[in-house]
């Protein structure tokens, strides 16, 4: 009777030992800012034992829960859908919840800082309001004329495919905060707002395309894009952001000529 329990016990121990052997010591170099303490932001190093197959978000959790409770960052779903935890990890905009530690070379210190071009409020938390203002300014909702149909608004599979890529946006701001034009001039709509305008401009059910094109035709609209492809590289959803911006440009030109 006792032997199976013993065996089970030793198997569990083995498993624990195996996991323990996989643990590595990683250094996280985090850009800290707390206006209630100092006006200066500074780097702080945290060392922790962690499985390299875990994500950067797990490491941030470990730091916050076990080492320094004042570390401040946003996260909600923790599975790459809510778009709360976009941050600059090793100099590149990514979602902390979709970045595995083994993929970003844990031999060296891993730098984590807030996304650029937006006001840092505390540690990794930025003021997203200008970003959402640009989003609101492109009217990201269905606009139609005439009477409401009694059934759903139908659409062919091809028509749906036309804007499928831009429906994937989760508004994490990784693209907009990687754009060098946006860094220097917050008046630029930014890639995310244009992507969300694209989602409705190319929707066959929507009738507000003209209005949105007119908004993006302005001096802070799509013509400020320098096609540096930072946005496409940064998008955690793999949206071809620069391509979407180019399609809006093309729509503006073919509308005129």
């Amino acid at each position: 009777m006792s032997s199976p329990t013993l065996e089970k016990h030793s198997a569990a121990l083995d498993a624990a030992e195996n996991t323990a052997s996989q643990m590595i010591t990683a250094t996280f170099r985090i850009r800290r800012f707390n206006p209630e303490v100092s006006e200066e932001a500074s780097w702080q190093d945290f060392q922790l034992e962690i499985d390299p197959k875990e994500r950067v978000l797990d490491a941030l959790h470990k730091i916050k829960w076990d080492q320094d409770g004042t570390l401040t960052f946003r996260r909600s779903c923790a599975h790459g859908i809510c778009g709360s935890d976009a941050m600059r990890i090793n100099g590149k905009n990514r979602l902390a919840c979709k970045t595995l530690i083994k993929d970003i070379n844990p031999q060296k210190p891993i730098t984590v800082e807030a996304i650029k071009g937006l006001t840092v409020l505390k540690d990794l938390v930025v003021d997203m309001e200008p970003f959402f203002q640009a989003y609101r300014d492109v009217m990201p909702f269905l606009i139609t004329n005439g009477n409401e149909p009694t059934r759903e608004r139908r659409q062919t599979a091809e028509d749906r495919e036309r804007f499928d890529d831009t429906t994937k946006c989760i508004l994490c701001a990784a693209c907009t905060s990687s754009c060098p034009v946006f860094w220097n001039d917050g008046q630029y709509f930014g890639p995310a707002a244009i992507v969300n305008a694209h989602r409705f401009i190319f929707d066959s059910r929507d009738e507000g395309g003209e209005q949105r094109l007119e908004i993006l035709n302005d001096k802070d609209g799509v013509w400020r894009c320098r096609t540096t492809f930072n946005c496409t590289d940064a998008c955690p959803r793999g949206i071809e952001v620069t391509k979407a911006i180019q399609e809006v440009k093309r729509a503006l030109i073919t509308r005129r000529f």
Partner: protein, 147 residues
């Protein structure tokens, strides 16, 4: 670590706001197609300039003795023909406007303060207008019979 912090909960440090932040009031619509035409002009003039500038460089620097042949007589001879007058006029206008528009976008991208960007652009426009007008004047009033 004993120095007293200037800031606390009731008196936090100022945060660093990004330049020209978007707010509810900022989207001022101009409703013009200026940027669209500017963007198209850059592409179209670029294509034409490839032909004009490379042709110009080939004639001036490579063919028929290269740069050593260029003198007053060579320029006078070329500008006697309306074709070369037209070529040079086209090249002058397109290159200047292309370059000026490019520099305008660079200023818009990099000058952060509104006054800086205004005066840099004024300087740019003045220099462009001056160069274009002076060049046009010379092409049309060039007199090969100077004393």
């Amino acid at each position: 670590m004993n120095d007293v912090s200037l800031y606390d909960v009731d008196n936090p440090a100022p945060v660093i706001e990004p330049p020209r932040k978007r707010t509810k009031k900022t989207p001022k619509s101009t409703r013009t197609n200026f940027e669209l035409y500017g963007w198209l002009f850059m592409r179209l003039s670029g294509v034409v300039l490839v032909v004009l500038v490379l042709g110009h460089l080939l004639i001036q620097l490579v063919l028929d003795g290269g740069v050593s042949k260029i003198g007053f007589a060579f320029v006078a001879g070329r500008w006697a023909s309306p074709f070369w007058q037209g070529w040079d006029l086209c090249m002058l206008w397109l290159a200047m406007l292309h370059g000026a528009n490019g520099l305008r976008t660079v200023i818009n991208d990099y000058a952060q303060r509104d006054t800086t960007r205004f005066w840099l652009k004024m300087l740019l426009y003045t220099a462009t207008v001056f160069t274009v007008l002076l060049g046009t004047l010379v092409i049309f009033t060039f007199d090969p019979n100077i004393a």
